[in-house]
Symmetry: C2
Subunit: 497 residues, 2 copies
Amino acid sequence: MSWLDLQTVMHRVSDINAASAVLSWDQETYMPSGAVQSRSEQLATLTELAHHYMTNDEAQRAVSDFASYSETLTERQRRIGQTFIKDFDRTKKLPADLLIEQARTASLGQDAWKKARQQNNFRLFKPFLERMYQLKREEALCLAPTEHLYDALLDVYEPGMTVSALIPVFSRLKAGTMDVLARIGPLQARVSDEVLYKTFPRDRQLSMAQNIIGKLGFSDSTGRVDLSAHPFCTSFANTDVRLTTRVRENDLRSCLFGLIHEAGHGMYEQGISSEMSRTPSGQGASMGIHESQSLFWENVIARSEEFWRWAFPQLRQTFPDQLANQDVSLFFKAINSIKPSLNRVEADELTYNLHIILRFEFEKALIDGSMSVSDIPEAWNASMKELLGVDVPSDADGCLQDVHWSIGLMGYFPSYTLGKLYAAMLWNQMRKDIPDIDRKIEDGSFSDILNWLRFNIHDYGRTEDPREIIQRVCGRPLTETDFMEYVGSKAQHVYGF
Amino acid sequence: MSWLDLQTVMHRVSDINAASAVLSWDQETYMPSGAVQSRSEQLATLTELAHHYMTNDEAQRAVSDFASYSETLTERQRRIGQTFIKDFDRTKKLPADLLIEQARTASLGQDAWKKARQQNNFRLFKPFLERMYQLKREEALCLAPTEHLYDALLDVYEPGMTVSALIPVFSRLKAGTMDVLARIGPLQARVSDEVLYKTFPRDRQLSMAQNIIGKLGFSDSTGRVDLSAHPFCTSFANTDVRLTTRVRENDLRSCLFGLIHEAGHGMYEQGISSEMSRTPSGQGASMGIHESQSLFWENVIARSEEFWRWAFPQLRQTFPDQLANQDVSLFFKAINSIKPSLNRVEADELTYNLHIILRFEFEKALIDGSMSVSDIPEAWNASMKELLGVDVPSDADGCLQDVHWSIGLMGYFPSYTLGKLYAAMLWNQMRKDIPDIDRKIEDGSFSDILNWLRFNIHDYGRTEDPREIIQRVCGRPLTETDFMEYVGSKAQHVYGF
C-alpha cells in the first residue's frame, strides 16, 4: 500500500475523531439536558468505529508497507507516517476489553466522585478509584517495558517523559518554590487582590475578554467562543477551533484569564500546518507543550506589567466604578499575588507547582503499589501541610477536588507544570529573538510573538516530541531554572524583597 | 443472524447519520466561516461510512435472515425491520458512482444556481440543471419499474405516492383554488396586512415566538432553538431536536410563524416512540406527513381566530406601539390575507398550492423528457400568468427562486401541498375526537391537541407509510376536499363573500 493509502486510513480515523469532538463540544455547550443517553450512544459508536479503522487489516497493511516507500517522502511526511504508526502500535497493545472496562469505570467513577465530593465522603469514591488504579496499572503493563511503570502513563500525555527525568527537576523546583515562599511570608500583607472580587457585569466581562483574545491573535474566522460549565478548547481542524469560557460575576479572573488561557491553546491549534490536517500529527505535540502555549499567553504575557500598560485603560473604561482606585501597578500586583491555598485550580503561578508535585508523587506511588488508595486522605492532608503549610478542612477540599483520577487521567498532572517550565524557557529564547519585545507588548502589538510561536512550535503539530521541540527551539533540554528565575523576579517585584 | 444483530446494524448506521446531522446543524448555526472545507470532508467520510454499514455483508445477512425469525417479533419490531429492509433495498439499487456524481453535481449546481440567481442569468445554471435532471432520470431508472418514471422520485419523499394518484387531486385542487381566487378578486382591498411590516425589535420577536412554542408543547429539555440563515428542524434523537429560526425586523411573520412551523416538525420528532430510537423508523413517516404537522400548527392553529383570542393580548403587550390600532379580528385578517404573488415561500395558504402544482408539472415533464431544461424560463412565465395571473419580471424572481432543483430534490415539492391536505383531514378528524376544541385553543390549552397528534401520528414514526396513516386516522384516503372546505370558509370569513 502506498502513501496515498495510508493517508486514506489517517483521514478516515481523523474525520471520525473530529465528528466525536463536535458531538462532545455540543454536549458541553448547547445540547438539551434530555439528550444525555442518545449522545453517549452516538459517541460510543464513533469511538468504536475510530478504533476499528485505526487497527483493522487495512491500517495494519498501511503500517507494514510504510518502510518500503518512506525514503521517497519528505521529512514532514515521514514524521506524519511515523506518528500514525506510533499511535497504531499503542492502540494495538491495548486490548479492547481493557479500554471498554476503563470507559465503564470512568463513567461510574465520575458519578461516584461527584457524590463523594458533594457529601465529603471519600469512601463512596474509594472502590471506583481502586478499580481505576488497577486498570491503569494493567494499561501500563501492556505498554511496558519501561523503567518505571508510571512512565507508560506519562508517555500518553508527554511523549518521552519519564519519572527519572522528572524527579530531579521537580525536586529543585520544590526547593526553589519553598525559598521564594519563605521570602514572601512576612510581606504577604503588601499585596491585596480584593479588587478582583468586586461585581463585574457578565456581558461586559465576556466582550472585554473576547476583544483581548482577538487582539492577541485568536482568529474568529477559524474559531469561536461559547459558554460552558468548565472552560475548554477543542479543535475539529486547524480551521475550526472552539473555546469555551465561564463568567463569574464576582471574580474578574475567571473569564478574562480563563479565556486568554484557552485562546493560547486555540492559537496553537489554529497554527498547525495544513499539511498535517486529517492526520494524527494535526494536533499539539503533547499536553505539556499545549499548556506551555496557554500558560505563556495567560501568565507570561497577560500577567505582565507591560501587558496591562496597554490593556488597563480599556479595562478601566469597561469597569470605571469597580476600578476607580486602581492603577496599572496595583492591578499588576493584584493579579500576581501569591498565597498558599487548598485548591489547585485557584492557585497562583508559584504555588501551583506544589499542588502538581504532590499529585505526581501520589500517582507514582499508587501505580507502583507503594501507596494504597485508602492511604490517600491522610497522606494528602499531611503533604499539603508539609508543602503548602495549609490545613485541609475536608476531603472535598482536599483529595476529592480534582476530576482527573475518577476518569482515569493518571499521568496528566505533570503536564501542567511542564507547561510552565517550557513557557519560561520559550520566553527567554523569544526575548533573544525579538528585539524590543517589552515595548511591543506595551503597544498591544502581539503579531511578532504569535508569529514566533507559529514558526517555532505551532507549525510542527505533533511531528516532533516535546524533547525535540525544546532542544530545537531553546538549544538545551528541559530545566526548571528559567521558570524559577521568571517567577522569582516577578515575586520580588510584586512583594519588594 | 438474530433481531439483536439487525438492531446492531441499525443502531450503527443511525448513530453515524445522527453524527452527520449534528455536524450539519453546527455548520448552519455556529461553525466559523473558515471551516467549510474541513467540515465537508468530515461529512463526506461519515456519509461513506453510513453507506458502507448500510450495505455491507453484515447488513446483507441481517436482511436475509430477517424472514427466519420475523414471526417471533411484535408487530412494531417487524415493521421496524421492514423499514430497514426497504432502505437497504433502495440503497443497494443505487450505484455508489451515481450517488457520488449526484453529490458532486449538487455541490457545483448550488454554486451555479446562486450565481445565476444573483445575476439573473438562467444560462449560468442551465448545464448543471440538465446534468442533474439526467442523473435523477438515471436514479429513477435504477429504482424502476414504476408506472411513471417520476413515481420513483416521489416515493423518496412520499412513500407510495404516484403521479396517477396526484393528478386528479391536484387538478381538483387547482380548480377549487381558482374559484376562491375569483371570489376574492374584487374584494382584495377589504384586507390589509400592513401591520405585519412595521418595525418589531428582534429580541422581543424571538422571545415571544419561543414562549409560544413552549406553550404549544415543544419541550426544551429535549430540544432547543438557534438562529440560522434559513430556518430548519433537525433531529439527532427523539430527545434532541433542534429548531432554527431567523428574525426579520420588518416582517412579524418570519420569526413567529416560521418558528411555530419548525416547532410542528420538532414536536413530531419529539413524539416518536423510543422503541424506534436508533433505527430508520425513528423519524417522520414522509415529508408530506412531516409538513402536515408543521403546517397544522402554523396555519390551522396559529392562523386561527381562536388562537389569537388567546395570544393577541400577549402580542400587543410585547409590541404596544406597533399594534396600537389592531384588534384580534383585524390581526386575524392580516395574517390570512390572500394575494397571488411571484414567490412560493412568501405565498399565502391558498395560492401556495398553485406554486407547487406548477413545479410538479414541470418536474414530471422534465423527468419524462416531454420538456427540456432550456424550455423552463418561458414555460415558467407562461404558467405563472395562467395559474396566478402574475407577470414574472425576471428569472431570478421566477424559475430561479428555489434551491431544490440545484441540489437534486426533484420529487420533493408535492410534499408541501400534501402536508396541507393531510393537515386539513387531520383537523376534521381531531374536531370530532376532541370536544370543545375551539374553546381549548382560545384558552391556550394545547395539550389535548398535541396528545391526539402524538397518539395518532407521532408515536408511529416511520413504521407506517402516509397512506396507512391517513386511512387509519381519518378512515378514508387522501382527498383535497377537507383542505378546500377549510381554506374556502376561512377566505369567506376574512373577505366576507
